[in-house]
Amino acid sequence: MYYSIIRRLGTQPKLATIPKRKWKSVLGLEVHAQIASVSKLFSGSGTSFGAPLNSSVAYFDASIPGTLPVLNRKCVESGIKTALALGCRVNEVSMFDRKHYFYADLPNGYQITQQRAALANDGIMSFPVITPGKKVYYKSVKLLQLQLEQDSGKSLHDEQLKRSLVDLNRAGLPLMELVFAPDLETGEEAASLVKELMLILRRLQTCSCKMEEGALRVDANISIHQEGEPLGVRTEVKNIGSVRSISQAITYEINRQLETVANGGLITNETRSWDAENRRTVAMRDKEVLQDYRFMPEPNLPPLHVNLKPGSKSTEDLLSVAALSEEIPELPEDTRQRLMEQYNLNADTSIILVNEPVLLDHFLSISRSLSQLPNKVIYNFLINDLLTYCNKLNLDVEDCSIKADDLRDILSCLHSEQINIQAARQLIELQQQNPAAKVSELIEINNLQQICNPEAIEELCRQAIANQAKAAQQYQKGKAKALFAIVGEVAKLSKQKANMKMVVECLENQLKSAKK
């Protein structure tokens, strides 16, 4: 995306003579995804979130002298599956390294990671970019490296007593670090990449992707430069706590850099933290003036070998990449294609459904059990009605308690004209409030059946025409739109329950005959 800014030159009003410059923003992401496992990467302690302080800590996690790392098979499997899903080359031999730095929540004084020979390299990820108010487009980003590494512990800073409290439950949790090439330009692209990555990881069940629990962490490297010039100095933005704040934080940082440059300032290579509350990035105190991690091969872990032979099977200590690739489920992009091919959905609709896994599940299950119902009715109801309802309540679709069966029953009643669309929308609300109730009961109790009795309809229409005499006259004079007012009147009189198709027909008849 191009930004044009006009350089401000203090008091000298030379604006007109300076050409508008094209600025480009470049950003790359590093994602730390906690591998879903019951035990840690190198020790047998548990991984459950929110365990009591220092309880999920093996002697190894506390760096007790003499303890040694033993690699968790599941974590390697998950890493390989993720790498394959992202089109990576899995390396036949990968190695672990120590990365040294002192920090209170890093008990060993080093982190075990993969630097020289990672588990996998050179993947690619294509994903739809959704920008509000703009047309959806696809973007491709290279995945440079996927590596396994340990998480650090957690320290709480007690400002008052001037000390840090350290909990090692998180120390040694398994992480996959995914390093993406700086192929992105906007905050929306970054958010869309992460969104797609989360869909993939959830499909693979290799990461819970719960950002609020720190199970997925995103760091962004951001720089700006003028077109044709080399890349600018980059800043790193950390502590981005939700998908929503990804695009906010990055957009803010791009603008901050543009503004800094516009004001004649310089961008410095620094780490900045996203302050979600005040919606800005702030400079973090740097760990070291000059950091040198002194990478060194981890001597306690011989190289990790994998079997790359096609058709091979995994053995106790040698995992087969071919065998693991068989376990990879349908990926989000494949599902989108399938929705378009098998269900005749357009691209935008399939993107929305796939991006909201709950809606997708509902769609597939309802479409299967109500084959007579047009797919369009189903996804329109899901997207326009259910999703809108959830958005209105600021509710995640996942947290909506309505079951697919209930939605199917509502749609089925709608389809058989037992209820109309207004009643169906009302039922969403009622169902959410009474998750245990049956749809038929809710219709009964709340008297939501559609009025389809021709006599009742005729009576309602007569009444409405009488109430909206002026509109009736206008309609008869040829102003077709005036009919809406009368239809609205019927809706009001029937408490939204009249069968609107019948109402329109009936009104047209009545008004025509009255004219004669």
């Binding site: 496992s37 019951v38 035990s39 020790s43 047998g44 302690s45 548990g46 009591p52 302080l53 220092n54 309880s55 999920s56 800590v57 093996a58 002697y59 190894f60 996690d61 506390a62 007790i64 033993v70 690699l71 968790n72 098979r73 599941k74 974590c75 390697v76 190695m95 040294h100 002192f102 920090y103 209170a104 320290s155 709480l156 800073h157 001037k162 000390r163 840090s164 409290l165 350290v166 909990d167 090692l168 105190r285 760990k287 070291e288 003036v289 000059l290 040198d292 002194r294 091969p297 001597p299 872990l301 011989p302 190289p303 990790l304 070998h305 106790e316 200590d317 040698l318 995992l319």
Partner: protein, 149 residues
Amino acid sequence: MWRRLSKRFYCKIATKATEKAPKLDFKQLTHPTKVPQTPVDTAFPDTNSASHIEIDTKTIQLLERLSLVDLDSERALATLKSSIQFADKIAHIDTDHVRPLYTVLEQQQLQLRNDQVTEGDCRRQVLRNARVTDEDYYVSPPGNIPLEQ
């Protein structure tokens, strides 16, 4: 090459106190010796004379910060310098096309562990060696403050 022991035995082993071997004459050899009787020369560059090892203050401060160990005396600095000179002795060895040997077990598959919880839940034991704790936390002073140098 030789026969395995047929069965367990206890006292048959020649114990040194009871069955003394005959006294050997170490001067007397039966065969022309294969042991070199003079030292085998090994030429290594004299890196000590090359007193080019100068470590600037910036590097010393960096090392202290990275090591969190103080290089407090002239003697310590001299030891550091001479250790580096000692390490320089292999610089001349031709290692083109020689891969680094990270581990003598490079051919062995790295063992993998099943994903099961087998440890942890031992807070008392992991905390018992910590000098300072507070309500099941380890305690450290405030972090991210550059070392005073």
